[in-house]
Amino acid sequence: MSKAEKEKGIERGHSRRGFLSGGFRGAMLFFFGMVTGFFTGKVRAERTVWQIDPFKCVFCTNCATECVLEPSAVRCVQYYPICGYCKLCTGYFDPQPINLDTGAENQICPTGAIIRTKLEDPYYEYTIDEELCIGCAKCVEGCELFGNGSFFLQVRHDKCVNCNECAIAVSCPGQAFVRVPAGDPYLLKTRETAG
């Protein structure tokens, strides 16, 4: 390179020092942009969370198998005001139970997560043991199709890690996964909506 060309390059700021300082400035800006973007993304994600619309759930069992967590962040909940306290609870018993008792062979729940407690004859209370529940929806299906639908699935926000692309939502055939405000994160049934 001739001296004249070198001088021309310096005039345009293409010296090594200029290149390094420009690169450093760019890297710093990139870093600050990344930090800002990360926290902006965080703030945006915390505004809404995933939840299951119980009226769209089709009890496909994907909630138990597709979640990134094991066991899933989805659990069954029991809404007592619409429960019939049935002796023959279709959310608790197999379609053709041998006996109406707590024998494992009679239960539909694969993990025995439903506790059956006798109240006054012939009424029984059914409670979900959340530590055992895996969100498979077998009880939800029985209760919804034959009973009052007091069992339904909900994403538990003390467990959910709130993925931007929820793996269950992607595979949900009923498109029941919706974003809801983080301040009001549950979609519960009511006596009115349940009939």
Binding site: F30, M34, F38, G41, L88, P122, F146, G147, C163, G195
Partner: protein
Amino acid sequence: MKKSRRDENKQSRRDFLRKGMEGMLAFGAGGAAGVFADDTIRPKPGNHSAIPNASPTSGYDMSKLAEVDPALIRYREKGRFGCDMEESVALWIDNGDLVYVCGDECVNVFDRVGRKRTTLKVGGRPRAVCSVDGDRILVAVGDRIVILDSEGGVLSDTGSLGERSVVTSIAVGGEGTIFAADAGEKCIWKISADGKVLSKNRGDTEGGGVGFVIPSPFFDIAFDADGLLWATNTGEHRIEAYNEEGEISRSWGKPTMAIEGFCGCCNPVNISILNDGRFVTAEKGLPRVKVYSADGEFECVVAPPNSFPGLMRKRPAGRMRALDVAVNSDGEVYVLDTGSSQVRIFVTD
């Protein structure tokens, strides 16, 4: 001309703009990277099998449960007509074979082939309708019964029957006495013709009986030709007969998914009685209509579950839906298909 040092440090406008643009691009790229980093650092879904001991056949296989031996189906559909309402709930056929369908906030009256005669407006969502001769039409609206004339004018109103009352069926006995099945209070009210409550029947509570067990808002009653009042004790999967004083005389029914019994937690949801004393029953869960002898022996199927695809699907938000049944003077079975809001007429050859 040689530039002074001051001039060398001075940036041109073009340089300033170029560097500014580069900076913004770098910042933007960094920001985007930051946003996506939030996604990429999360764990990916695993294909773990989280259902221990679950066989592929466990659970409610509705297609299998809905199967019915074709030899048991002895009725065929003769015709159908629309109810002209969005949400139909209950059906009644009077002595003159007029067909009453209630739903939305009205009662629609049809002749036996489905020609609409009139619409009676009701102030609320009705759950049951009954009329003996067409002059007085009794409509259950929430916790009360409203008595209308044939033009829809209000003749009288029982007022609220109870704090938790949900009246789901009405029948009229001797001397115009009204009987109202109340799924909320789990009782049958006996009411005078002019709307005064006379007594309350809680079912068979003597000798270990548990009375009426009604887990869902479905509780039906119907009189037979002998004046016995039959009630669906759904939680016990039984149909029970009472005299007008509220004493039980007999009962029949058993819980099973099999065709000869009543399925699910609480069935049958609705009944009607043929002139010869045989019963027509309707169930929910597996929406099927069947005929039983006067002694409660299973005889045949009027319509299998697959006849009602709208009720085989998961229900949307709102009122629980179930079939209702009524019979006309010729023994034809009218089924209110609430899944399609149609009345469907079944006959046997």
